[in-house]
């Protein structure tokens, strides 16, 4: 009996390949998603853990370099003596003072910045010490560490990107000293070497202090290595006891957890996305496999009936079908796992080409991926085969042998009704999430979305009916009988069609959601930025890092410039709470920013210096207009300020909670670094000339970008586009899988209809007409899926945007044209998917087809 099964397997190689292909695709999809998710989180783990010591000493509220984007405030430093004192604490094996800045960017050979928008350029002194828990900390990869002031070491990824080799001269942009040249003497990195887009530059201690702290001795932090066996927490407490005011000691584990939490805001999104993606992959894979197997066993009903007729028991028939499924499932899952591994690599390589380096982390086949792959490959295949196998074994041999080897007409059954119910509940949940004041609206929305999606998959037959009817009418009008036949073929097995369309529907629902999210995000940001833009030109830094304020005078001197307004940014504390501090002139606040003042202005009466505070601060600290309050200075004193205005936070440039004037700011923050300049020009000034002048003025500061307003906005928005293009790349995977699914189903359907094809050819259908018929069917299925998917995507996207309103995405934009484009492309994919099956059908020999059993 088994022998007969194997023989039959081999006898139908094409069928075998097609059915195995569906499993390979499904499993690859799931495995790829899982492997890549794993890759991402391990990469970030390496990055975080490798960059922390057993005990980390730093100023309170400053955080660890590289992850805190708000630097630029004046650093409070520990003296060398403070650091030396740490070494005497019990349990400390080694202590290294740290000097670091996240605004030191290497330049490439053309003088352009070698960094990615938003990624920090970390510059620090070279420390050779193990990281938390004895992990490898900073280490030399190649060459040697810097020994003199004009030497530097870089992380290997940045070196490669810049095309440098050891011995080259590298220009580096520094926040205070402008451009400086160094000799590249080595490559080195932290921990696992993952830089996630950041560049790492290592200098000698003296040079680091020179460029980061303007030559000031001292350290912003200390790297403490504990003795083996010492408890980091105990050591941290002991170390902290001896530290100067304002400094704390934290264990690496605590910090890692903290950083993880911070990162989760960004990374959590990616993780959730990938997880949802994997879940959807599972759904698509299941649909694909179920579809294929129900076709296969239906086709073989006659063969099975023959086996029954010559004496095989029902059990034997079932076992035969199931063992066949097991074999295909096993092979498919193994291949799929391999392909999935390849896919994860593919995504990694794609991300690298985007410039996102995930370090040494490579996709590793995890047990979860293996289990999931085989579970899907085997279990789902078995389930998919079991149903039709039961059916096949139940049929009386004579009946089955007389019947044509075709899937019978399908009854639609109860599932779509369950689907409709799920859609209704899902919509209700979404409505609750958006319009009703429910706790955890995101959860409501999530559950609603899942219900809606699964409901749509189940009920696609019913929901798609009007669409199919519309298609039928259009086809008939355009293509006559061929169009009609195509429509009839498409609805012949409604469940099969629905399942095939559903795979594409799922993919497009996600794509449309992302498209809406992208459009809404960029539009919201653009609106906000546009509303906030004043002046004719701006000078602002890449990566938000403040730049040397001395440039202001040069900018003022440029021909055609009438006014220049500068904005400073820093951190201060009010009470115990750290708040953002901004420095601006009164005119600057009104002319060069769009900040809405609820009351008052930034102008003093000659007494206490004026301050405009945000409503949150006002409410939180019981401050009103005319009241006095104190802010600490970095040197330990206080400045007494008068509340002269209250602002609403409002849109825009993230001016701080507390805004002080330019006379006061230097007392509270670091006025040597400016965040942003807004330039007004004379009406008759030549914009191009002014621009050239401004660029010349900022020539020493490669991190500073001169932009007119539009450019500035575009530059900001392009950062988001990059993120979204990665999402699209992932989603492309889903679409490819579903298009291959259509090819597969269509190919099997054509095979199943061989006889009918022969008949049609015999009664006069030309090859061209036949190809058209198959193509039209494919286009119909693809478009059906695409339209349903886009509709779902519009719902998901709208709900998501309305829930994210508080997070700054306040304008819902539905890019209808783009969505219509997706549907069109899906239709084209339908044409592509039909190429193979249509050719096959057209090539069939008329006589042989008719004679096919």
């Amino acid at each position: 009996m088994l022998h007969a099964t194997w023989r039959s397997l081999w006898a139908h190689k094409v069928r075998l390949v097609l059915s195995a292909l569906s499993i390979v695709l499904g499993v690859a999809f799931v495995a790829g998603s899982l492997l890549f998710t794993n890759l991402l989180s391990s990469s970030f783990d390496q990055l975080v853990k490798g960059a922390l010591a057993d005990v980390n000493v730093s100023a309170e509220g400053v955080g660890i370099e590289g992850f805190d984007q708000t630097t630029g405030l004046q650093q409070v430093l520990m003296s060398p003596d403070d650091v030396a004192a740490i070494a005497d604490v019990d349990g400390v094996a080694q202590v290294e003072g740290m000097v670091s800045s996240s605004q030191i960017f290497p330049l490439d050979k053309d003088g352009n910045l070698l960094s990615f928008p938003g990624a920090p350029g970390v510059g620090m002194n070279w420390i050779q010490a193990p990281a938390a828990g004895g992990q490898v900390g900073a280490r030399v990869v190649d060459g040697r560490p810097p020994e003199t002031a004009d030497e530097l070491m870089m992380d290997p990824a940045t070196v490669t990107r810049g095309g440098y080799v050891l011995g080259d001269t590298v220009e580096v942009s520094t926040p205070r000293s402008g451009l400086k040249s160094y000799t590249l003497v080595g490559t080195g990195t932290y921990g696992a070497g993952a830089t996630a887009g950041a560049s790492y530059l290592f200098f000698t201690l003296d040079e680091a202090q020179e460029i980061v702290q303007d030559g000031a001795e001292g350290f912003y932090a200390a790297w403490v290595v504990t003795e083996p066996g010492a408890d980091p927490a105990t050591v941290a407490d002991a170390v902290e006891a001896g530290l100067p005011e304002g400094f704390i000691a934290e264990t690496g584990d605590d910090l890692a957890a903290e950083i993880d939490e911070q990162l989760d805001v960004g990374l959590g999104f990616v993780n959730t996305f990938l997880l949802v993606f994997a879940g959807i992959a599972l759904l698509v894979a299941t649909l694909l496999i179920l579809n294929t197997f129900s076709i296969l066993v239906a086709q073989r009903s006659r063969e099975l009936a023959l086996l029954r007729a010559i004496g095989a028991t029902r059990r034997q028939v079932r076992v035969a079908v199931l063992s066949e499924a097991l074999a295909i499932g096993l092979v498919g899952a193994t291949l799929g796992l391999g392909v999935g591994y390849g896919l994860a690599w593919g995504i990694l390589v794609a991300m690298r080409s985007f410039g996102i380096d995930l370090g040494t982390a490579v996709p590793t086949i995890t047990w979860q991926a293996v289990v999931a792959s085989y579970a899907i490959g085997i279990v789902i295949t078995l389930v998919a085969a079991a149903l039709p196998a039961r059916k096949a074994s139940r049929v009386r041999p004579v009946e089955a042998m007389a019947a044509a080897a075709q899937s019978g007409p399908e009854r639609i059954g109860g599932l779509p009704m369950v689907g409709v119910a799920m859609i209704e509940v899902g919509v209700a949940a979404l409505v609750c999430a958006v319009w009703l004041d429910v706790p955890e609206p995101l959860w409501w929305a999530g559950v609603g979305a899942v219900l809606l999606l699964v409901g749509m998959v189940l009920a696609a037959v019913v929901v798609g009916t009007p669409l199919i009817a519309a298609f039928g009418a259009a086809y008939r009008a355009l293509f006559g009988e061929v169009g009609r036949l195509a429509r009839l073929n498409a609805v012949r097995q409604p469940r099969r069609t629905a399942a095939t369309a559903a795979t594409l529907m799922i993919g497009l629902a996600l794509v449309a959601t992302v498209a809406i999210l992208a459009a809404s995000t960029t539009t919201s940001i653009r609106e906000r930025l546009t509303a906030d833009q004043r002046g004719d030109f701006t000078l602002s830094p890449v990566a938000y890092q403040p730049f040397d304020a001395t440039v202001i005078d040069e900018v003022r001197a440029v021909d055609g410039v009438t006014d220049v307004y500068e904005f400073y940014r820093g951190v201060t504390r009010i009470g115990d709470e750290p708040v953002q501090l901004s420095g601006a002139s009164a005119d600057g606040l009104t002319r060069a920013s769009s900040l809405e003042l609820i009351a008052g202005s930034l102008s003093g009466d000659g007494g206490a210096p004026p301050a405009v505070i945000s409503r949150e601060v006002a409410d939180g600290h019981d401050l009103t207009l005319g009241q006095l309050f104190d802010l600490p200075t970095p040197t330990g004193g206080t400045v007494r300020l008068l509340v002269t205005g209250i602002h609403d936070g409002g849109p825009g440039l993230q001016l701080g909670d507390i805004i002080v004037d330019l006379d006061t700011y230097p007392q509270l923050g670091d006025a040597s670094l400016v965040q942003r300049l807004v330039v007004f020009t004379a009406d008759d000034a030549d914009p191009a000339a002014v621009r050239d002048g401004l660029e010349a003025a900022a020539d020493d500061l490669p991190t500073v970008v001169v932009a007119d307003v539009e450019e500035f906005i575009d530059a900001r928005i392009s950062q988001f586009s990059q993120l979204f293009s990665i999402l699209y790349a992932l989603l492309a995977l889903a679409i490819i899988i579903s298009v291959l699914g259509i090819v597969n189903t269509l190919g099997l359907s054509v095979m199943e209809r061989t006889r009918e094809v022969g008949l049609l050819r015999a009664v006069g259908m030309t090859r061209a007409q036949l190809r058209r018929m198959v193509t039209l069917e494919s286009v119909m299925v693809a478009t059906l899926g695409a339209v349903l998917g886009v509709v779902l995507g519009v719902v998901f996207g709208s709900v998501l945007v309305s829930l994210l309103r508080d997070d700054g995405i306040d304008i819902l934009v539905i890019p209808w044209l783009q969505l219509a484009g997706f549907v069109l492309v899906a239709g084209l994919f339908g044409v592509l998917a039909a190429v193979g099956p249509a050719r096959r059908a057209a090539r069939l020999n008329v006589l042989e087809s008719i004679a096919t059993e």
Binding site: E481, L759, G764, L847
Partner: protein
């Protein structure tokens, strides 16, 4: 009587090397207009091959088929398809109908594919003759085997083809249904002047034809006109004798009642006269 289709030197060889099978061996064959021709022969005699070649469903290894005056072998696939669609009707043994279409839709399918209007009067007439009036909205699965074959007949006639080919059209039917279908084919010849060619191995089915052609080993070996079922059966038993000698029951020697030997042949016979001409003569006498 003009010729609807003819074959000249028709040869079809399947396979290659040692597995060569000559299905048709240099056959000349004419199909007369307005005549009901049955092609007879046992399995493997080449009768289906001959029909497929004549119907432009297959291409010959050598020789030529003319449908009317059109030489078929030079045509590309598309003109060939168009020729089949416009000038030839088919009735297969089984699976004649597209399962997604109703009976009416199946009947007009070739016209629809060609994008031509349906001649309603002709449609009504054909459907009326076939007694399908109340079955037109049914799907093939809702029709009996006989009804399905009658729908196939109607379809074959809808485009008023030059020739209708039937490949064992009654092979899957019970005797009542078979009689209906055959009766219809007969009527289509008599009433519509339709040319019909049918492949069959059933003497009963062939007895509906005007002319029966016998094939054996890829050659036409015999031909009868206006033969009855008995004629056909006896011709078949002569042309296709059982070859297993052990089973043959020796024919009883013809003897006279008095026990004397009968003469071995009954008077002078003109062996030169082909059966075809004899049957024409007989038809003339009968007509």
């Amino acid at each position: 009587m003009s010729i609807a289709a003819r074959a000249r030197g028709l040869t079809k060889i399947y396979g290659s090397g040692s597995a060569v099978v000559t299905a048709l061996d240099n056959v000349d064959f004419d199909i007369h207009e307005g005549e009901f021709t049955a092609i007879m022969g046992p399995s493997g005699s080449g009768k289906s091959t001959l029909m497929h070649l004549m119907a432009a469903l297959d291409t010959p290894t050598a020789g030529e088929v003319y449908i009317g005056d059109t030489a078929v072998s030079t045509l590309d696939d598309t003109p060939l398809t168009v020729l089949r669609r416009d000038r030839i009707g088919f009735i297969f043994q089984a699976f004649n109908l597209v399962p997604t279409l109703t009976a009416r839709e199946n009947i007009v399918l070739p016209l629809r594919i060609a994008g031509r209007p349906v001649d309603d009067e002709w449609f009504e007439r054909v459907v009326g003759v076939l007694g399908l009036g109340d079955r037109l909205t049914h799907k093939p699965t809702e029709l009996s085997g006989g009804q399905q074959q009658r729908v196939a007949c109607a379809r074959a006639l809808m485009n008023r083809p030059d020739i209708v080919f039937g490949d064992e059209p009654t092979g899957n039917l019970d005797s009542t249904s078979a009689a209906e279908v055959l009766g219809f084919l007969r009527r289509s010849v008599d009433e519509f002047g339709q040319t019909v060619v049918m492949v069959t191995h059933d003497a009963h089915a062939a007895s509906y034809a005007d002319r029966a052609v016998f094939l054996s080993d890829g050659r036409i070996v015999h031909e009868l006109r206006g033969a009855t079922q008995e004629d056909l059966l006896s011709a078949m038993s002569h042309i296709y004798p059982r070859t297993d000698a052990t089973q043959r029951r020796p024919a009883p020697e013809p003897v006279y009642r008095d026990g004397g030997h009968a003469p071995t042949h009954a008077g002078p016979v003109d062996d030169e006269e082909p059966t075809v001409e004899r049957s024409i003569a007989r038809r003339a006498l009968m007509g």
